[in-house]
């Protein structure tokens, strides 16, 4: 059946086919509110219609996994009756429009996803991609995004302990702001969103509802355009103070037995939270919208259901617990309103001013959500370049100085000094190292956290790039001595309706899946952000991986700084001088070309296990993974961090620049006092390891290069970002 005559002008982003499905589900024409509800539930953001088919291929299970994808965040067992709960989420588009508020509300949103499950957030991370430093908007965006992330996290009192910042012209019109939160809960106190049971009170808590973030396209419809001399902004403003109260109030209520189900109101607010709770609990929900706490006057049901006002939660309580809950929320000066109850009809029934304003069966609203297997074309493979195919620098020492002073490799201190990275008193590994280390409060254990992605590899070869993102985050967690347990991921891509973009997504997911499988790091949560394009120019495909691991004795975690004169310096892993798609090639030799470095998952795992074992055995004094910029940049970072030089005198057949700057995977630089013992251990483990020099002195000396003073390196490394941010074009 198809009621073409009644088809509205504005399908709110739904396709004709999707609209026909709605007619079938309802057996009638949807009203405006109902159409709005279908439109947001079936949006790419909520339904994952383009990516679902491929996400299902990811490995999501393991003995450590308590809850994989499908809830607000993933949950893993970290021993001692505790669970780590974490997820990453994007706020790309809002951050481009209003960088401070966009980034701030992104951080607020991801923290809610974590504490809605019963966890106290203990660490925030963020993965950021900006346009070219020369682009007129970049400085303003960097400034606002960093301030916004700090503004929200600092006020919440959750330390922001790490992340990544990169620049590329591909993000000029579409920056990426991905925020990750890790929390800790008792394994027997984890909260889910399934609203099981009928006749139970549905309770709204937190901030009042305003017209924030209601989609601009639908705002244009005549009904809402009366006071139109001022275009209503769709920007949401974050209120971290309210969220801090919400966090404390929720945790206090969670300590009782009152809550049956709880769900944060994020994207599509009241709509997706109520539908999700009903669907998971296989019940219906009746809401009386008159009872929704409102910040603005004359709000319509449509506006209330689609509002994305922040700092709100929806709960289903045990009957009779409402007043106890109210007392807690009163203490924290927050609104609490009973706005409905669960019903046995499996319908979403909305009442307003004594009328039914929406009546939608929940199962088809969720299950009939479109799912597309979009056509895709694989990215054509690129030629493999040999070590001699990329031009050598005139002066290797000079090239290194330039690289450590470049936008992508320079110190991020300017960024993380704006984040309170120490509050909560458990930040053992501060920002700047391979992975952040956050002690599990009151224990000697720590969680290690890293976020990683190398988009220039992904664009060259999505499968290898997807694998590499997982491998690198796994390696970073390993480098601090922790055992990686699981990952979360944020798939940032362009328009999936373009087969070549869809091909990037498919390839990256395949690569990620293979790596997660091989490295025993299942995917427990994630987020997908598509249509990151401006004027048909897509961003670089950016599948960000956030890896969480654990170290049982944090006193064993080595730093990434040279510490003792005379220590032997080794490279773990084989060096083939892979310069294709390297930073050196991009910044010093005319732009990226060729295939990216291949990832050998067996080697990755073997080398990582060897390094971790040696760390636990106390054999290693410093450890740093080798990534962007190769051995030379890794050594420079260790020298700067330790204020100690090293004499590197490695003989091999490679051109000096390929050896120094090649980005072969699965490698670590380690230093140790007892070279003989470590060498023997590597031999026993069947791991390739080469001695390349000795720690000491005030300069870093590389093969075929003049010595570079550590002070000079530090100066170069620390200069670029603050100088860039302090300058401005007039």
């Amino acid at each position: 059946m198809s009621d073409r005559a009644a088809r509205p002008e504005d399908l709110m982003g739904l396709s004709d086919d999707e609209y026909d499905t709605i007619l079938e589900i309802l057996g009638r024409t949807p009203n405006f509110t109902e159409l709005g509800i279908f439109s947001v539930m079936w949006s790419e953001h909520c339904s994952y219609k383009s990516s679902k088919f491929w996400l299902k291929t990811l490995p999501t299970e393991g003995p450590q996994v308590i809850q994989g994808p499908g809830e607000n965040a993933g949950v893993i067992d970290i021993g001692d009756g505790l669970a780590a709960i974490f997820k990453i989420e994007s706020h790309n588009h809002p951050s481009f429009i209003e960088p401070y508020q966009g980034a701030a509300t992104g951080v607020g949103g991801i923290m809610r996803d974590v504490f809605t499950m019963g966890a106290r957030p203990i660490a925030n991370m963020n993965a950021l991609r900006f346009g070219s430093p020369d682009h007129p908007k970049t400085r303003h965006l960097v400034d606002g995004v960093i301030a916004g992330i700090g503004g929200y996290g600092n006020c919440m009192g959750v330390p922001t302990v790490g992340g990544e910042v990169n620049f590329d012209p591909a993000y000029n019109g579409n920056i990426l702001v991905n925020a990750m939160t890790v929390g800790i809960a008792s394994t027997d106190k984890i909260f889910y969103s399934a609203a099981a049971g009928v006749g139970l009170p549905v309770v709204y808590v937190g901030a009042k509802t305003g017209r924030d973030g209601i989609h601009g396209a639908t705002m244009a419809s005549a009904e809402f355009d009366d006071d139109s001399d001022e275009k209503r902004p769709t920007v949401q403003v974050g209120d971290p103070f309210t969220e801090k109260l919400l966090l404390e109030a929720c945790l206090e209520l969670m300590a009782t037995d009152a809550i049956i189900a709880i769900q944060d109101m994020g994207a599509a607010g009241l709509t997706s939270s109520s539908v999700e709770m009903a669907s998971k609990g296989e019940v219906g929900i009746t809401l009386t919208l008159d009872h929704v706490p409102q910040r603005e006057t004359d709000m319509t049901p449509y506006e209330m259901m689609l509002s994305e006002s922040q700092e709100r939660m929806l709960m289903v309580l045990k009957p009779g617990r409402e007043e106890m809950a109210r007392a807690i929320f009163d203490k924290w000066e927050l609104d609490l309103a009973v706005i409905g109850e669960t019903n046995d009809s499996q319908r979403l029934l909305l009442m307003w001013q004594d009328e039914v304003v929406a009546d939608i069966p929940v199962p088809p609203l969720v299950d009939a959500a479109p799912e597309y297997e979009r056509p895709w074309t694989a990215t054509p493979p690129r030629a493999v370049l040999g070590p001699d195919d990329v031009t050598a620098p005139d002066d290797l020492a000079e090239a290194l100085l330039q690289l450590v002073a470049s936008p992508d490799l320079c110190s991020r201190r300017w960024v993380w000094e704006q984040y309170d990275h120490m509050v909560m008193g458990d930040t053992v590994g501060r920002p700047g190292g391979d992975a952040a280390l956050v002690r599990i409060h009151g224990t000697n254990k720590a969680l290690a956290i890293s976020t990683d992605c190398t988009p220039r590899y992904v664009v060259a070869n999505p499968v290898e790039g997807g694998m590499q993102a997982v491998a690198e985050s796994w390696r970073n967690v390993t480098a601090v001595g922790a055992t990686p347990l699981a990952v979360t991921n944020n798939l940032n891509f362009g328009n999936p309706e373009r087969p070549e973009i869809m091909g990037q997504l498919v390839g990256a997911v395949k690569g990620m899946g293979a790596a997660c499988e091989a490295l025993d790091a299942p995917v427990v949560s994630g987020n997908v952000s598509l249509y990151n394009e401006t004027n048909g120019e897509a961003i670089l495909p950016t599948p960000v991986i956030g890896c969480v691991g654990i170290i049982d004795d944090l006193t064993k975690a080595p730093g990434g700084a040279f510490i003792d004169e005379g220590d032997a310096v080794f490279v773990v892993g084989e060096t083939a001088g892979w310069l294709g798609c390297s930073i050196y090639q991009r910044d010093q030799a005319g732009g990226t070309a060729g295939a990216p470095p291949p990832v050998d998952l067996d080697t990755e795992r073997g080398n990582g296990e060897f390094v971790r074992t040696a760390i636990h055995a106390g054999q290693i004094n410093a450890c740093h993974d080798v990534s962007d910029g190769g051995i030379a940049v890794a050594l420079a970072e260790m020298a700067i961090a330790g204020d100690l030089g090293a004499d590197i005198s490695h003989e091999n057949d490679l051109p000096a620049h390929a050896w120094a700057f090649g980005e072969d995977q699965a490698r670590y630089i380690v230093t140790c006092a007892d070279a003989t013992a470590l060498t023997a251990a590597a031999k026993d483990a069947g791991v390739h390891m080469e001695r390349i020099g000795t720690v000491g002195g005030v300069a870093l000396t590389l093969p075929e290069a003049k010595p570079i003073s550590v002070a000079g390196l530090r100066d170069a490394h620390s200069r670029w970002l603050p100088t860039y941010m302090a300058s401005r074009e007039s």
Partner: protein, 80 residues
């Protein structure tokens, strides 16, 4: 010459500060307050000159720096 600039949040934009001030005033026993919005007030000391031109120039400063026009409105008055 002086310019007085008022920067206020657009209608409908959440004002967390105003909300907190409102609560705090109630806590202090001030009733009868129905709403609080907090904005900025910026005074610029300008070299003497044409008032109309100065106003346009300050408006430009608002657009470029003083106001966040995505969420804020501004007004400029010149006092001579």
């Amino acid at each position: 010459m002086k310019a007085r600039v008022h920067i206020t949040l657009k209608n409908g934009v959440l004002d967390p500060q105003g909300k907190a001030i409102h609560n705090s005033l109630e806590g202090l026993g001030f009733d009868g307050v129905e709403g609080v919005r907090q904005g900025k007030f910026i005074e610029l000391e300008l070299a003497d000159g044409d008032a109309e031109a100065a106003k346009a120039r300050v408006a430009e400063m608002c657009e470029k720096l003083l106001a966040n026009t995505v969420i804020e409105n501004y007004t400029v008055e010149i006092e001579t």
